[in-house]
Symmetry: none
């Protein structure tokens, strides 16, 4: 990435500390015409104080109109162009269950399905088995050996599991084995190139043995695999920015995304208070702190406007503890919007505030989507947040003489 080479050339070392607080799905919508968004409705005196002293605006996670998943949303915030760096479904699925994928891995999403006596699929989700049954069936699959690869099978929930193949020269240009219809047999895996043919061979061996070990376990008597993905080759944040970054998150997916870009991941407990305590504990050891707060997103996904407002207010209450540590740069934003009105991620720009001593005042006094429209940061691609953070931390030299 061109921007990364520029930052590598310009970066300078110092003792400053940068905090990136991601309130997942922060942006919202009013419930009715003329109303306020969740963030505008919330009482947020501490975030408002940051806005008054800092600068605000909106990030565009990918492109106008594009709704990001958690992967692209976070990659953008970490300063990686989400259109250039793609994380395959298999890898995201593995990250989501805290499986530590590595450079020699190809991961895939697995589904239990039901096949009839002819081997034709009669139920693509095996009647949605219980998660207990999923775990038991995965234990059977874990007995399978395939020559030349190390094999991992881990349950997710219901009919879903993850398969990871570890080995040398494994490509991921392999088709999904799910035929996407009933009455058809699972497809054979075919590799597009030599390395992917290695993978396909292992996949076919695994699926054949799966048919044997699951025989008689109807309805969970067969599997399909899809979303084959290699561990993506991503430069680390240390390599790009010269930072020593740490992730303080509760949920596995976000820890996994942080690991992908080379962050250390520490045990952060299970509540926001735990996370703040963790932040204090590791404050001396790192210079970049990624805090992930889940509940602004999950309440949005639930369509619970009032709950999302409350989660924002709870977050606001913790801000003084963060500022009490005297970060040089504090950024508060989301990885995307999750309006409770839509009960899903959305494409709307995401409110962002950046606090530092070198901010140029923009006259905005409250944190909220409509107020941020008047902010000094304007609307800009999320991937430029990191160069801005580096600049305000005094960590970037001049470009050209």
């Amino acid at each position: 990435m061109k921007m990364h080479q520029l930052l590598r050339d310009l970066r300078e070392k110092n003792d400053t500390k940068i905090v990136l607080l991601v309130a997942d799905g922060l942006g919202g919508l009013p419930e009715e015409l003329g109303g306020k968004t969740e963030l505008e409705s919330a009482r947020t005196p501490n975030l408002d104080a940051c806005v008054r002293e800092g600068v605000c605006g909106h990030t565009i996670p990918v492109l106008p109109g594009i709704t990001p998943g958690s992967g692209p949303g976070h990659l953008g915030l970490f300063g990686y162009d989400p259109l250039e760096y793609r994380i395959g479904r298999g890898i995201l699925e593995a990250l989501g269950i805290n499986f530590q994928v590595g450079a020699r891995d190809v991961a895939a999403r697995g589904n239990f399905c039901t096949v009839d006596v002819k081997g034709l699929i009669s139920d693509r989700r095996a009647g949605r088995p219980s998660t207990e049954r999923c775990v038991a069936m995965c234990q059977k699959l874990q007995t399978i050996k395939v020559p030349g690869v190390e094999l991992f099978v881990e349950p997710v929930r219901e009919h879903r599991f993850v398969v990871v193949m570890r080995g040398d020269n494994l490509g991921d240009k392999v088709n999904d084995t799910d035929p996407q219809q009933i009455g058809a047999a699972p497809l054979a895996a075919v590799g597009e190139d030599a390395h992917s043919q290695n993978t396909a061979k292992a996949v076919n061996a695994f699926v054949q043995q799966a048919g044997s070990v699951l025989k008689g376990e109807t309805p969970t008597n067969m599997v399909t695999l899809r979303g084959f993905a290699r561990y993506p080759a991503i430069e680390t944040m240390k390599d790009v920015y010269g930072l020593h970054p740490v992730c303080i998150a509760v949920y596995p997916m976000y820890k996994g995304l942080a690991r992908l870009v080379g962050m250390d991941v520490v045990d952060a407990g299970s509540t926001l208070s735990d996370q703040i305590e963790t932040l204090k504990d590791v404050w001396a050891k790192y210079d970049f702190f990624f805090l992930h707060y889940k509940y602004t997103d999950s309440t949005g996904e639930d369509g619970n406007f009032e709950a999302k407002v409350e989660m924002i207010e709870r977050l606001d209450a913790e801000i003084p503890k963060i500022r009490g540590l005297n970060p040089d740069v504090l950024i508060v934003t989301g990885d995307h919007s999750t309006p409770s009105k839509l009960k899903s991620h959305s494409w709307h720009p995401v409110p962002v505030l950046l606090w530092a001593e070198t901010c140029r005042p923009d006259g905005v006094v409250e944190f909220g989507e409509s107020y941020c429209l008047r902010g000094g940061l304007g609307q800009f691609p999320a991937m430029y947040l990191m160069p801005l953070a580096m600049a305000h931390a005094g960590r970037l030299g001049k470009y050209g003489a």
Copy 2:
């Protein structure tokens, strides 16, 4: 550059005149929270009148967070992507002393250094000699002949000088000969490709002879060279825009940058009044006028808030004389920000105003960073100023039917 090809295709001839007034380092910061910037503090009735009738906004010189030097800052204003067009240190150094580098030149920055009897460097800056001594030593170096290249050695100041090699097939992929440490001998120059090997050979011959002619001149008894750079191949503004441009600047660096993009450079005296008189004198002969005003930057670099305010007010006082010439488009902006609070160039967006009869009103009535946030131009890469100027000058036809 894709944009240049578009402009070549669309450009039209007419008799309009465009003035680009660059107040170097114009953007600033308040000295304290809640305060005003230098530009907001200055009394600028004439610039304010331009803003009221025109349109304003902010330019981003390179990318968000990136602090530009004068080279990239000006290239952007002239409509050249500063990430695509790079000007090497040797060339900038030569431009800075008004040396007219050309297409067959490779330039390098030279340092006088001190070597001991074994030829090991004991002082990389030769004890920072006086500029008089630098001039005298350069006269000695000027006697050196190297077969196959025309050689120029020009003093800068103290231990610094410029070497220009003129010839055919000279590349610039040559390492610095400064080992960056004491107790080591100067490095031999090595070229990465055939043309650069020609340069390296000439460099090594020059350095060897420099050792001879400076023998006994301790502490200035040896030289190191770095920042080898060819004259960059840049399309001229005439080629891209069909304009006949002139530079009215006082300082050599800005004249040199203007020459790089094909501007005529005229003697502009030494004061802003001189520059305005020059503008009047050449008004009939050109259609694009680049005026460079240095003192908004130098006072910012000095950290002198009050002086920067005064320099802005002095500039404002000259605006009626420029408008009296009836330009069709008048742009006032900076090549970057230089907040006196930071005493250096910075990454902050740069306020810009564009006055023309075709401006769409944006309701802004004063020129200043926070007011420009409400401006009709928004925040945009500096390299788009030129297409905007061309459009408001009626010099761009329709794209597509």
